[in-house]
Symmetry: C2
Subunit: 240 residues, 2 copies
């Protein structure tokens, strides 16, 4: 892009106006997934995991009081991914995680306010890193498990977007993507990791096969998990 710009071109650009054409608003919406333990009281056995996503209750029209994905409009001085990052940080205080574009939603009429295109990003966070901002009165933020979504009033086309995001997440797990580790703390037991995979893939995996496969991607730490009435567990971290 190191390119000499002629006087003629400079003049063209000065007279050029994009305002001739109608333009859309462009938004970034974020599907934030986290994994929590289903039953906090159960201290005696490995606890099942529960996949949740973050939704915001809209305080304004349209879809007032409906739940929607966090998001916001892009500014001229940032890439759309930066918009998504900014919004994520505002909602959860999480930064520095991988973002993955999972789709662009541009169906005419998808937003009653007018022509608005949504670029949707998927983010996986460790629930220990999240702090929902409670200092805002403008809206309410809440984590929902996927089962809970059925009875919920979800605004815009966000129910479709969430469904497609979950499919992307399943693909990550099927292909043993490194990104799955973003859902976990820095060190974890293999049993924990297996429960995460089972919750995402919605199936049971056999222990030995799972561990054998995972040894490619994890390495031992010097930590062990103790305090259960069975043998202690070695803790691992992701490689590299």
């Amino acid at each position: 892009m190191d390119r000499k710009i002629s006087k003629e071109e400079r003049e063209f650009l000065n007279n050029y106006s994009l305002a001739k054409y109608e333009r859309p608003s462009v938004a970034a919406d974020i599907v934030v997934f986290r994994m929590v333990e289903k039953d906090e009281e159960n201290k005696k056995k490995t606890r099942p995991k529960c996949l949740q996503i973050l939704l915001i209750k809209r305080a304004n029209y349209p879809f007032k009081n409906y739940w929607t994905l966090p998001g916001g409009f892009c500014r001229p001085d940032e890439r759309i991914e930066e918009t998504a990052r900014r919004e994520l940080f505002e909602e959860t205080n999480v930064s520095g995680v991988d973002m993955k574009l999972i789709g662009v939603y541009s169906e005419p009429g998808r937003d009653p306010r007018g022509w608005i295109i949504s670029n949707t990003y998927m983010v996986l966070v460790n629930h220990l890193d999240c702090e929902l901002r409670t200092d805002k009165e403008a809206w309410e933020a809440k984590w929902f498990s996927l089962d809970e979504l059925d009875g919920l009033d979800i605004g815009f086309d966000h129910r479709t977007i969430i469904r497609e995001a979950f499919l992307s997440l399943k693909e990550y797990a099927s292909s043993y993507s490194n990104r799955i580790f973003d859902l976990l703390p820095p060190s974890f037991t293999l049993a924990e990791l297996q429960l995460v995979y089972e919750e995402i893939l919605q199936c049971n995996l056999t222990k030995q096969n799972f561990r054998r496969k995972m040894m490619e991607f994890v390495e031992e730490t010097d930590e062990v998990e103790t305090g259960y009435s069975h043998r202690n567990s070695q803790k691992y971290r992701r490689k590299h």
Copy 2:
């Protein structure tokens, strides 16, 4: 989205104006790949294949006389994919093929005309179906092999986009995606198909292993290819 809209909400929407916020122009650009035979005169042996992409020589500033991807601006009444489809048809007369979003390019300053976001689609076409429109004086369209791009003046960030599109294409081939068949006529020999894969993956494949794998995806037709000084070849088509 069947939702009752209250009087209050209706009023909100009537007074709402997106014009308060600055908006970008949104474009769809298309990386069109086709596969042609490298050496049209060579009638005696299986001919190597050559992967090409379609570029347009810009008649106007900015990047006047530079080569760029075909594309155009989105209209309020269409999805971005429809924009890409419309542009593809205008350039090549091709319709009804799969389009795959490969990326969104929103880096500030990527277009000297102002804030323009590009949604880039990849399309694979059969070269026999393409008819480049020659009736336009506004611009020149031409197919280039990937090698030829090095010395070429390519406008905007389209060189980057092309590189990323080619990576997507490689992934398609690595995963034996059905879409690869879009590059071929309805019936083809397995040797032809193998040359297509070898050109995309830039490596040599062993015949028996390739054929064994491909039998999942193709079925015999009643056509054979004759006229070469060796055994005739069975022709196949994609399954389903």
